[in-house]
């Protein structure tokens, strides 16, 4: 059982790290701001979500597990809002040009 949980943790955190890596590569390599923004939001949404998912079986108590989930949810709020704000600023600039 513990081996299965360890494997689950490894797989989930590995997948999360992959999304962070892919998001970073996208941020550095994508051609324009909107696509870069797209890459970045995947990293903090899915990447962090998978890392948290992988850490859940490792948390000592139910309260700690809920805390981890709350951290993920709290990161989502400003992440989503700033992505929208940057996107709107970009489209305003595009309309002005």
């Amino acid at each position: 059982m513990s081996l299965a949980l360890d494997l689950f943790t490894l797989a989930a955190i590995g997948a999360g790290a992959f999304f962070f890596f892919a998001g970073t590569v996208g941020l550095l390599r994508f051609p324009d701001s909107l696509t870069r923004l797209h890459a970045l939001t995947k990293a903090d949404n899915l990447g962090l979500g998978l890392v948290v998912l992988g850490l859940l079986p490792r948390s000592g108590s139910l309260l700690d597990a809920l805390r981890l989930i709350a951290i993920w949810a709290l990161v989502q709020l400003p992440g989503a809002a700033t992505a929208q704000l940057i996107g709107r600023a970009l489209s305003r600039r595009r309309a002005a040009e």
């Binding site: 709290l74 709020l77 400003p78 989503a80 809002a81 704000l85 709107r88």
Partner: protein, 315 residues
């Protein structure tokens, strides 16, 4: 080398690289972004040094609030004229600056290398006396009990900083409100943040202050989170910066240092010495002082960001 050591080495190199990039960046905004990233990396360094209290403060104050301050002052400087196109300094001036920086760095390095082994520490004594304060977090005990006078002076410095910012106001707008933060029309995503994040953030801020007695956290970190929430609401224009002459604002600004000083002065009256808390009653008093400090910090930091008054008080 273990994997943690490799990660630490990588972190140290990253901090130095981001610091170098922040100095070298030609654009003002880019270098502010670099500074914020540098602060966040530093807070990870503090975590690795087993100092979560310092890490929280670095993330909230060093990176968060200072970042907002630098972004807003950068925007103001830009409106006042193109600062980046300013005359580059001459070679002699640059040489002088570099020499001074090398001298300071060399002096710091020498001092650190000359530290006795093991370095002098008061940590065991601080731990032994912890029970007398009723606290479980030694950092809070140092801040509010052992070195309470220093902490009170730090809070007074914050109030002085606000006075310094306000004193830049012309006479005709004295007592008025600072210019509003953010654009005139509220933006949907910011309103969403107001509704979803701000209520939670206020709870988290109070929680961080409350657990600071026993776990990492405290008045400064909790107050900084509350300040950030007020700033979000001001930036989304749901509320405007208050008039600097408003009585409630003045009271909120001085409440922390004033209560702190009053408790300190009450020490001799209760048979102790200056800043001596009565035995067995230390923890409630410490939390009482901290609650007012949270209020003052939550009021001070946004007023520093909002800047000097810009609108005349009559309107």
């Amino acid at each position: 080398m273990s994997i943690l050591q490799v990660l630490d080495l990588g972190l140290a190199i990253l901090v130095l690289a981001v610091a170098g990039w922040t100095i070298a960046a030609r654009e003002l905004f880019a270098s502010v972004v670099g500074y914020v990233a540098y602060g966040l990396l530093l807070s990870i360094v503090w975590i690795r040094l087993y100092a979560p209290d310092v890490a929280l403060t670095e993330a909230a104050i060093g990176s968060g609030v200072t970042g907002v301050l630098l972004v807003t002052s950068g925007a103001r400087l830009k409106r006042a004229g193109n600062v980046e196109a300013a005359e580059p300094s001459g070679p002699s001036q640059r040489f002088l600056a570099a020499a001074l920086a090398v001298l300071v760095a060399a002096a710091l390095a020498t001092v650190i290398l000359l530290l006795p082994e093991p370095p002098p520490t008061l940590a065991p004594e601080a731990g032994q006396q912890l029970a007398a304060t009723g606290l479980a977090n030694p950092v809070t005990a140092v801040l509010i009990a052992y070195r309470s006078f220093d902490t009170m002076l730090e809070k007074i410095v914050l109030v002085l900083a606000v006075v310094g910012v306000w004193s830049l106001a012309p006479d005709r707008v004295w007592g008025g409100a600072p210019a509003p933060l953010g654009r005139a029309r509220p933006e949907g995503p910011l309103l969403f943040l107001d509704q979803a994040l701000v209520p939670l953030g206020i709870l988290v801020g109070i929680h961080i202050f409350w657990v600071g007695a026993d776990e990492p956290g405290g008045a400064f970190q909790g107050g900084a989170i509350l300040a950030a929430m007020w700033m979000i609401v001001m930036i989304s224009r749901l509320t405007e910066p208050p008039r600097v002459g408003a009585r409630w604002l003045r009271l909120a600004l001085v409440a922390g240092p004033a209560v702190f000083l009053a408790v300190g002065l009450a020490g001799p009256g209760m048979g102790g010495s200056f800043f001596a808390y009565p035995a067995g009653f230390a923890k409630p008093i410490i939390l009482f002082i901290e609650a007012f400090m949270v209020l003052s910090i939550a009021a001070t930091l946004p007023m520093l960001v909002a800047g000097p008054p810009r609108r005349s008080p009559e309107r």
